[in-house]
Each structure stands twice: as C-alpha cells, then as structure tokens.
C-alpha cells in the first residue's frame, strides 16, 4: 500500500506539533522517522494511524483519502513502545483480538482464527506460547506478540512507535534484524519511529530526519550521512564539528589563518564549516594552512583515539580521530585539515 501525506499540519491547542508536511512512502518500503523528542515524528505516525486528526491536509492510502476515516476503519497495524498488550488475555486471545471484534459477517470461523494465530506465532518465533499471559513473557517476547497482534488483521500499513525503545541493547539488536526479516517476508509498507540513529540507518530503506515539527531530509542512509542537506542533519547524524569561518578572496579563513581547503566558487561572507572527526588529514609540516591547536583532552575509543583540540583565538573545541598509537609531540599541538566537509551559510544554503 502506497502512502501519501499531503500538506498535513497538526496543532495541539494552537501549539504546532507538526508544520505543513508532505511525504510519499512507496509500497512495501521500510521507512524510519528519526528525530529528537519533540520533533513531531510520533505525531506524524499517529496521524497516519488515525489516532490523531490533522488540523489541515490529507493522508492518502493508495488513491483513497483516508483522512476522514476512523482508526477502526483504516486497518493499520500499530505497535506501541510499551507493548500495550491486554494483560487479562492469553497470548492467543491477544493476537486473535482484531479478528474476534470483527462484525460476524466478516469474522473468520473460530478454527480459522486459531490457525492464523498459531501461524503468526511461528512467524514471530514464539511457537507454543499461546496459552501464556503477557506478564509471563519477557519484554522482547511481549513486543513480538504485539507485532503478531498487529499483523493478524492483515493491515494495509504497519506502524511502529519506538518499538524497541523499552528493551535493553542486546535484545534490541536482535529484534532489529528480526524485524527486517519479517518485513522482507511479509512485504508490508512499514513506518517506524525512533530516536536511535543507528537503528534508523541500519534498518530502514529510507530515513526521514525530523526536527521541530518539520522534515529536514528524506533519503537513504548514504544520503543522510554523506550528503546532509542541513546543519541539523549533519550534527544530528553521527559525530561532527562546527567551526564558524569566513570566506574571502577564494579562501576559507579562521580568523587570520587560511584553512587550506578548496572553496572555489563560494561567495564571500561568513559561513559554518561542518566536518566529521574521522574525515581529517593530519598535517606534519604545519606552517601556513590548516587548523592547529593544543590537545585539551583525549579519549581512547575502541581502535582509535579521539583528541579534543582548542582551535583559534576563542579556543573553539573540535574533536578529531587519530590512530590509537598517534604520537602527540612535545608541544602538545596537532595540526590537521578536513578532508571532507560541508559549508553551510547562516541562511541555511549549503555548499561543498
């Protein structure tokens, strides 16, 4: 099922939770809504589900305008962060619930319902647990049951709200892989919300990065990481440094030092230089270009060493990554220049 979000806006008591937003989701796609809390990602998901009504705009399921359909009629599978299982029901009854509440005319016979539940339990790898109650299951198992329950109604789209948020890291990793497998097996159009960038980048076909009620960028993991279109995306995804610089006479300057990077074609004026700690080149013969400063702190991170340098007159701190055995000279100064970087003008325009 294709999904089209057309100029949707949502306000809660005049407070805009989601500014005008449009987004196309392709059929069978696995999409992540990624952003910090308050970015509007959950609101967008709930709007798609029909748990919230848009203040403005429309949501299309395929060619059909679903905006005015109730939650019950939209036929969406929704998985909540805290499972929201019915704890007075067995696993079997939980999963069968969506089928059991159907009007008699379209309700499958009892046998058929049970058969489907057992099939779904196999799919989510919990065979034999149908007689258990939710409080007899672990967190990971509960979330699997919740997913099976959502899948039981043969939803047109599958929506997951921070599905792994309440689980510990180990379980989360396992379930992530498993969700991808389930998605590839069932082919549901799936949208999930997360604030965990690793989860979003690893799991999703495309990632929608959101901030303050707006979509910042939509793209594949490569797009988002290598070609971030806004300073927010650059700094939100992965680690990054931001340096206020100035473009003059075809050169980039930090105060009176040329950076030695190629900024040909850039207009003169102030800008902010973004680069990642690992995308740098250490300069061994420092005179002239490059950035240099004393090492203010260092951390050993797995196979590499992270150095914090104080750069320039106002001692802006930047972080760079060097080999673990990198010798810091007697002066304690390190000089480098960014290999890959992006320039963002203060009005938001970007260049490379």
């Amino acid at each position: 099922m294709e999904l089209r979000i057309d100029k949707v806006r949502k306000e809660f008591d005049r407070f805009p939770a989601l500014h005008e937003t449009s987004l196309d989701i392709r059929s069978g796609e696995l999409i992540a809504l990624l952003g910090p809390s308050g970015s509007g990602k959950t609101t967008l998901l709930r709007l798609i589900a029909g748990l919230e009504q848009p203040t403005d705009g429309a949501i299309f399921f395929g060619d059909e305008d679903a905006s005015h359909r109730s939650v019950q009629d939209r036929n969406v599978g929704f998985v909540f962060q805290h499972y929201a299982l019915f704890r007075h029901m067995t696993v079997l009854d939980n999963i069968a619930f969506g089928l059991n509440v159907r009007p008699a005319a379209i309700r499958p016979p009892k046998r058929e319902i049970e058969r489907r539940v057992l099939e779904l339990l196999d799919l989510v790898q919990l065979p034999g647990l149908e007689k258990r109650y939710p409080n007899q299951l672990s967190g990971g198992q509960r979330q699997r049951v919740a997913l099976a329950r959502a899948l039981a109604i043969e939803p047109r789209v599958l929506l997951l709200d921070e599905p792994f948020g309440a689980l510990d890291a180990q379980v989360r990793k396992g379930l992530r892989k498993w969700l991808r497998e389930i998605h590839d097996q069932t082919g549901h159009t799936t949208v999930f919300v997360t604030h965990d960038q690793e989860e979003a980048l690893e799991l999703a076909d495309r990632v929608v990065v959101m901030s303050q009620g707006r979509i910042e960028q939509v793209g594949t993991a490569d797009d988002i990481y290598d070609r971030p279109t806004s300073p927010f995306v650059f700094s939100f995804i992965g680690e990054s440094n931001a340096l206020p610089i100035r473009i003059e006479t075809g050169q980039a300057w930090l105060a009176d030092r040329p950076l030695g990077i190629d900024v040909s074609g850039e207009a003169d004026g102030p800008a902010t230089l973004y680069f990642r700690p690992q995308d740098i080149e250490i300069l061994t013969d420092p005179p002239g270009g490059g950035l240099a400063g004393p090492v203010a702190a260092q951390r050993r991170v797995a196979g590499t060493r992270h150095l914090e340098l104080e750069i320039g007159g106002d001692r802006t701190r930047v972080e760079i990554e060097v080999p673990a055995d990198y010798p810091i000279g007697e002066t304690g100064r390190v000089a480098f220049k960014p290999k890959r970087w992006r320039l963002y003008r203060n009005d938001g325009a970007s260049g490379n």
């Binding site: 036929n75 929201a84 007075h88």
Partner: protein, 286 residues
C-alpha cells in the same frame, strides 16, 4: 539468638534489606488480637453458653431469619448498584477534566465523614411520603422510605465511596495505549469497554464490592431511620441485635452477631480468593 547464620533450611530470621519483620509482625498480631480477635472470640464464648440446640433455636427463629435475609439481600443489592454507578462516577472523575471536578471528588468522601444517623435522617426527610422527593412518588403509590427499598437507598449512600475509591486509582493506571491498541485493531467503543477496560478493572470492582457489601451488612445508624423497622419486613439484623441487648438477652444478641459474622466472613473470603486468583493469573499489582 541460637540460630546460626549458616544453618540451612527455613530460618525465622532472614537477613534482609527491609528489617523489622519480627517487630512489626509482633505488633500486628498483638494489635489484631486486642482489637479484633478477642472481641470476636467473646461472641463465640457468649453464644456457646447456649449450647448447640440453643444457637439453633435462635438461628432458625423466623424473625431472626427474616432480619438476616433483609440485611444480606439489601446489602447485596446496594453493593451491586454501587458497582455499576460507582464505576461510572470514578470514570467521570478520572477521565474528564471539567470545572468543579475537585469539588465533586471531595463530595464522594462525604458518606465516610458524615455521622451515619445524620445521613439516615436526611435521606428519610427526602424520601418519606411527605418529603422532597417522596411527595412526588407517593401519588403513584411508590413508597421508598419505611420499606426495604429505603434500606437499599441508605446502603447505597454508605457504600458509594468504597466503590469509587478502590476503582479510581486502578482506572488511572489504565494506559491510553491499551485503548488505542484496541481501536487500531478495529474494536469499537463498546467492544473496548466490555472486552478491555472492564475486565481490567474487575479485580478493583470486586474489592470495592466486597468493601461496600461488608460495610452495608454492618450498617446501623443510617438504616434505622429510613427502614421503618417493621419486623419481618424492614427490620435489619443489627437492629435486632440491639433489640435483644435492650431485652438483656445477651446470648441471643451474640448468637445473631455470630451468624452474621460467619456469613460475612464467608462472603469476603470468597471474594478475596477470586481476587488472589485473578491477580496471580493476570499479574495485576506487580
């Protein structure tokens, strides 16, 4: 203490981060004994003076049987009515925000605080054939005061806060998500309430029911004003006990009390067992 820390098996003293078990259990037992058990045992001792045949004669006395029947049936009806309307009151207080909600919330507690005799007199004034409400019903031949219906009204009044106050906190804990989950699965409002919310509240409703019922069985002050106290019709067992006491028939009074005690205990125990079962099964309260 002679018990060694290395001794295996059950030990009276378990090392614990929550100390004071011995002290508090001792206090609890002493307290319960002085306040509850000794007085109740006194009942048994007093009645035992009559012997089995004596007890049996009193227990099968038609007036006693009828009084007990009135007491338990009106209490049951009142508790059932409270189970329905108490849940609705709790629902309104928990779910909606409206001006005056706090005041309404406080009013629910009034039956706790009001002297029961005051409540009885007030209710009688309202529902008596010449009362505010009673005068409109009297022409249709509907009599509320001085009948078992009047008793039920008084008992509803007395029991309401028990119901509301036990259901309210549990209702507050029902997460919106569970209801939303039901909605996304296609359940309409009625199905969500009957299949999800009410079963979830069942243990709390049972507790409230037990408390309201227990309170109603023992209620005296408010009932005697509105009941009319006609023997065989609207005479409750607690009143009969008082009547026996006034006749200096202590053994008779304690025997009726003993019978009430046994019935009440049986009912409450049954309700408690049902609750323990549902808690074990569904994991409520953990």
């Amino acid at each position: 203490m002679a018990l060694s820390a290395t001794a295996s098996g059950w030990r009276f003293k378990q090392p614990s981060v929550i100390p004071g078990f011995g002290l508090t259990l001792g206090f609890t037992l002493t307290y319960l004994t002085l306040i509850v058990l000794i007085p109740l045992a006194g009942l048994g001792v007093r009645s035992a003076a009559l012997g089995w045949s004596g007890i049996w004669t009193i227990a099968t006395d038609p007036r006693v049987v009828q009084a007990l029947r009135v007491s338990f049936s009106t209490s049951l009806i009142a508790a059932l009515i409270n189970a329905v309307f108490g849940v609705i009151v709790a629902w309104v207080l928990v779910r909606y925000r409206f001006p005056g909600r706090r005041i309404l919330d406080a009013i629910v507690d009034l039956p706790f605080a009001l002297p029961t005799a005051v409540a009885g007199i007030a209710l009688t004034a309202l529902y008596a054939p010449n009362g505010w409400i009673g005068q409109y019903l009297a022409p249709y031949g509907i009599r509320l005061a001085y009948t078992p219906t009047g008793i039920v009204i008084a008992l509803i009044f007395i029991g309401l806060p028990f119901m509301v106050r036990t259901v309210q906190p549990v209702m507050e804990e029902i997460s919106r998500e569970v209801e939303e989950a039901a909605a996304t699965l296609g359940a309409n409002r009625f199905q969500t309430i009957s299949r999800i919310i009410l079963p979830g509240l069942a243990p709390a409703i049972l507790t409230g029911f037990a408390l309201a019922f227990g309170r109603a069985v023992g209620e005296y002050g408010s009932v005697i004003f509105i009941a009319g106290n006609i023997p065989y019709v609207s005479e409750i067992a607690p009143l009969l006990i008082v009547i026996r006491l006034e006749e200096y028939n202590y053994a008779g009074a304690t025997t009726i009390a003993l019978i009430m005690l046994i019935f009440s205990f049986a009912v409450l125990l049954a309700i408690n067992l049902i609750q323990a079962w549902s808690r074990r099964r569904f994991g409520y309260g953990n």
